[in-house]
C-alpha cells in the first residue's frame, strides 16, 4: 500500500506553480522525509495530501487509493501543521477533549498518560506552554487519534535542540509501536539520518530524488582523486563535483562493486552528503524507488 501516491500532481497559486508534474509513491511502513530548499513545494505537497488544498492538475490519493480530503482519508491521517497551530486560549485538557470530539477514534487514556509523562500541565492554556510543549501537545492529540499515517510539516523548525530530539523520539516510538507510517518535511538535514528511512527530494516544484534511504546510500559513492583528472572522469554519472586545490570530490552513482579508477578512492556517502549534493544540483535526478511515471526510469541520472 502507498500512503501517498500522486500522478502528474500540480498546484498553482496565482501565476506561480508551487508544485508541478509531481509523480511519486510513498510506500507504507516508512518514516519518509520530504526534503528541499525553501519554496520547493514541500508544504504544498503535504497540504494536497491531507486535503487542505485542491490540486490544480493531476491526482493525489492516500492510504491505498483514497481521495485526499475524503472522510475516509481524514479518518486515517493525522496532520501536524507548521508551527503546530493550537487554540491558544484553550487549555491543554480542552485541546484533548476538542480533538476527541472531532474524531471517530481517540485514545483518551493514551493522550492523558502521555501528557503526564511529558509534564504538560493540563489546566494551562495552550498559548502559555513552551514551544516544545506546544509541539508535543499537537503531536499527542494527533497520535491519540491512532492514525495510520502521520503527516508532519516542518515539525521541529521552531524547536531548540533538546525539544527537537524529544519530539522526533516521540514520533519514532509511536511509529515503531503502532506500525504507523510517517511523512515529514524538514530542512534540518542532520536530523534525517537518524529518523528517515525513505527520502523524497523536491526541487523547484518537482521530484528530484525518491527512494529508500538504504538503496540510495548503497547506490552512491564519493570518489576522491586528483583534481586534474576530474574533468575527464566520466565513466560514472556524476551528481556533484567539488574541487579542492589538488583533489576533487565527486559524488557519483555507483555501487560498492563498481570498479574504482586508478588513483581514485571510493567512500560511502552519508545521507546528509547525498542530500546536499542533490540540493546543489537541482538538474540531477535519481528516482530508483517505487515512484512511477515518465521520470521514473531506474538509475536515470542527468548532469
Amino acid at each position: 500500500m502507498n500512503v501517498i501516491e500522486t500522478s502528474g500532481l500540480g498546484k498553482r497559486y496565482g501565476g506561480t506553480w508551487a508544485l508541478r508534474e509531481c509523480t511519486l509513491a510513498i510506500p507504507a511502513g516508512h518514516v519518509a522525509a520530504l526534503v528541499g530548499p525553501n519554496g520547493a513545494g514541500k508544504t504544498t505537497l503535504l497540504n494536497l495530501a491531507v486535503g487542505l488544498a485542491a490540486p490544480t492538475a493531476g491526482i493525489v490519493t492516500v492510504l491505498g487509493g483514497k481521495p485526499a480530503g475524503s472522510s475516509a482519508a481524514l479518518d486515517g491521517i493525522a496532520f501536524v501543521a507548521q508551527d503546530t497551530p493550537l487554540y491558544k486560549n484553550l487549555s491543554a485538557a480542552d485541546m484533548v477533549h476538542l480533538t476527541r470530539n472531532l474524531n471517530r477514534h481517540f485514545d483518551q487514556h493514551y493522550a492523558e498518560t502521555r501528557m503526564g509523562e511529558l509534564g504538560i500541565p493540563l489546566k494551562r492554556k495552550a498559548g502559555r506552554l513552551s514551544g516544545g510543549q506546544q509541539a508535543q501537545l499537537a503531536l499527542t492529540v494527533a497520535l491519540a487519534r491512532r492514525p495510520r499515517l502521520l503527516v508532519l510539516d516542518e515539525p521541529v523548525a521552531m524547536l531548540d535542540p533538546i525539544a527537537r530530539h524529544d519530539f522526533m523520539a516521540s514520533v519514532l516510538t509511536a511509529a515503531a509501536d503502532d506500525g504507523m507510517s510517517v511523512v515529514l518535511s524538514s530542512h534540518v538535514l542532520a536530523e534525517l539520518e537518524r529518523v528517515a528511512d525513505y527520502l523524497i527530494l523536491l526541487s523547484r516544484g518537482r521530484v528530484q530524488v525518491a527512494g529508500d534511504v538504504d538503496d540510495l546510500l548503497t547506490s552512491h559513492r564519493m570518489l576522491t582523486g586528483p583534481a586534474a583528472e576530474a574533468g575527464r572522469y566520466a565513466e560514472r554519472p556524476v551528481v556533484h563535483a567539488r574541487r579542492a586545490e589538488a583533489q576533487a570530490h565527486l559524488l557519483v552513482r555507483a555501487t560498492p562493486d563498481d570498479p574504482v579508477p586508478p588513483g581514485w578512492e571510493a567512500h560511502p556517502v552519508s545521507l546528509e552528503e547525498l542530500t546536499l549534493a542533490y540540493l546543489r544540483e537541482p538538474g540531477a535526478a535519481a528516482l530508483p524507488g517505487p515512484a512511477r511515471g515518465r521520470d521514473a526510469q531506474p538509475s536515470e541520472v542527468t548532469k
Binding site: K11, Y13, N47, V50, G51, L52, A53, A54, S71, A72, L74, D75, I77, A78, F79, A81, Q82, D83, P85, L86, Y87, K88, N89, L90, D94, H97, L98, T99, N101, L102, N103, R104, H105, D107, Y110, T113, R114, E117, A138, L143, R145, R146, R148, D166, A169, S170, T173, A174, D177, D178, G179
Partner: protein
C-alpha cells in the same frame, strides 16, 4: 522516551458514518463562549438601560395623556417634557448599530481567526470534516445571536410604544410611524433578522478576507450599506404606496414616501413649495405666522389648494407594519441562509 505503546488499530473499523452533530456542540460552545458571553452582556446591559429609561418614558407619557385640561400650561409642560425625553434613544438610530456590533464581533472572527492564526490546518484535517465543522459552528451561533436579538426587540417594542399611539398628534405629543426608518427595524421580527444577517455577513467576510480586523471592517461597511439602502430606498417599495389627494394633515402613523403638487393637471413641484411661490400666493401674513409643527404647515397647504394647486401624497399606512415585517424578515432570512451557505461552500472548496 515514552514507555507507552499504542494498541494496534483494527482495520475493520472503517465504519464511516459521519460523526454525530452533537459532538460539535461542545466544540462550538467551548470556542465561542466568550463571544456569546459578550453578546449576552451587551444585550443585558442594554436591557437594564431600556427598562429604566422605558419606565420613565411610560410614566411621563401617562402623565401627559392623563392631564386635564389639555390646554393648561401645566399640561403643556408635561407634553414638552415627554417630547424632550429619550436622549440618544429618541429616534432609534443608535440601536441600529447593535446588529452591526454583533456581526462585527461575533460573526467576523468565527472563520477569520482560524485562517489568520493557522488553526484551520488543525480543524479542517480532523475526522469531522471541514464543511460539517463550518456548518456546525455557524448555524448554532447564528440561531443564538438571532434569538438574543429577538428577545431584546420585545423590550424595544415596549420601550417605543408611547410614540406609536394614534392620537398623540392631537395632544402635541411626538408621534412616529411604526414604519419610520429608525424604528421599523427595531421591532417585530426585523431586529432578529437584521442581527442574523449581520452575523452571516461577518461569517462570509471572514472566509473571504481571512483576517480578523479587515473582515470586521468589511462587515461593518457591508451591514451599514445594506441597512441604509433598505431604510432609505427599499422598504417604501415593499408594497405599492397609497396615493392620497389633498391630505393636508396625514396621520402621524403613516410613512410619507413622497409629496408633490399639480396645477391644472400638470406637475408643479415636489415637496415644499419654492419660496417665490410661497411669497406670491401664501405669504406668512396670509396663513398666519408659520410656527413649528404640522398644523400650520397644513394651513399653508390649504392656502395653496385654494390657489388651484393639488397636493398628492404617496404613503404607507401604519396598518402595513406586519406585512412589511414579514417581507423584510423574509428576505433577510433568505439572504442570511445564502451567505452562510456560501461560507460553507467556500470552506469546502477553498484552496488553502
Amino acid at each position: 522516551m515514552t514507555a507507552l505503546t499504542m494498541p494496534a488499530r483494527s482495520e475493520h473499523d472503517a465504519d464511516l458514518r459521519p460523526l454525530p452533530w452533537r459532538r460539535m456542540a461542545w466544540v462550538t460552545w467551548r470556542q465561542h463562549r466568550i463571544a456569546l458571553a459578550g453578546v449576552v452582556a451587551l444585550l443585558g446591559a442594554l436591557a437594564v438601560w431600556l427598562w429604566i429609561a422605558g419606565l420613565q418614558l411610560h410614566h411621563a407619557y401617562a402623565a401627559a395623556t392623563a392631564c386635564h385640561p389639555a390646554s393648561s400650561p401645566a399640561c403643556g409642560d408635561l407634553v414638552t417634557s415627554f417630547n424632550a425625553m429619550g436622549g440618544i434613544l429618541a429616534n432609534g438610530f443608535i440601536l441600529q448599530a447593535l446588529p452591526a456590533l454583533i456581526g462585527v464581533f461575533a460573526g467576523a472572527p468565527v472563520l477569520a481567526r482560524e485562517l489568520e492564526t493557522g488553526t484551520f490546518r488543525y480543524a479542517w484535517t480532523q475526522g469531522f470534516g471541514r464543511w460539517r465543522w463550518t456548518l456546525a459552528k455557524l448555524v448554532p451561533l447564528a440561531v443564538v445571536v438571532a434569538a438574543a436579538a429577538g428577545a431584546i426587540s420585545v423590550l424595544l417594542s415596549w420601550y417605543y410604544q408611547p410614540y406609536l399611539a394614534p392620537g398623540n398628534q392631537a395632544l402635541s405629543l411626538n408621534e412616529w410611524s411604526p414604519l419610520a426608518a429608525g424604528l421599523f427595524a427595531l421591532r417585530g421580527i426585523a431586529f432578529a433578522a437584521w442581527t442574523l444577517a449581520a452575523f452571516a455577513i461577518g461569517a462570509l467576510a471572514g472566509i473571504l478576507i481571512r483576517r480578523v480586523v479587515p473582515a470586521m471592517a468589511a462587515t461593518l461597511t457591508a451591514y451599514t450599506g445594506l441597512a441604509f439602502a433598505a431604510g432609505l430606498y427599499l422598504r417604501q417599495h415593499y408594497l405599492t404606496p397609497l396615493v392620497a389627494r389633498n391630505l393636508f394633515n396625514p396621520p402621524g402613523t403613516a410613512f410619507i414616501a413622497s409629496q408633490w403638487w399639480t396645477k391644472g393637471g400638470n406637475f408643479a413641484f415636489a415637496g415644499r413649495p419654492p419660496i417665490n411661490l410661497m411669497m406670491q400666493f401664501c405669504p406668512p401674513s396670509a396663513v398666519g405666522a408659520v410656527g413649528p409643527g404640522k398644523p400650520s404647515e397644513g394651513t399653508l397647504w390649504q392656502c395653496f389648494a385654494q390657489h388651484g394647486y393639488t397636493l398628492w401624497t404617496s404613503y404607507q399606512p401604519a396598518s402595513r407594519f406586519w406585512p412589511f415585517q414579514w417581507i423584510e424578515g423574509g428576505w433577510l432570512l433568505a439572504l442570511s441562509v445564502l451567505l452562510i451557505a456560501a461560507a460553507v461552500w467556500l470552506v469546502r472548496r477553498r484552496a488553502a
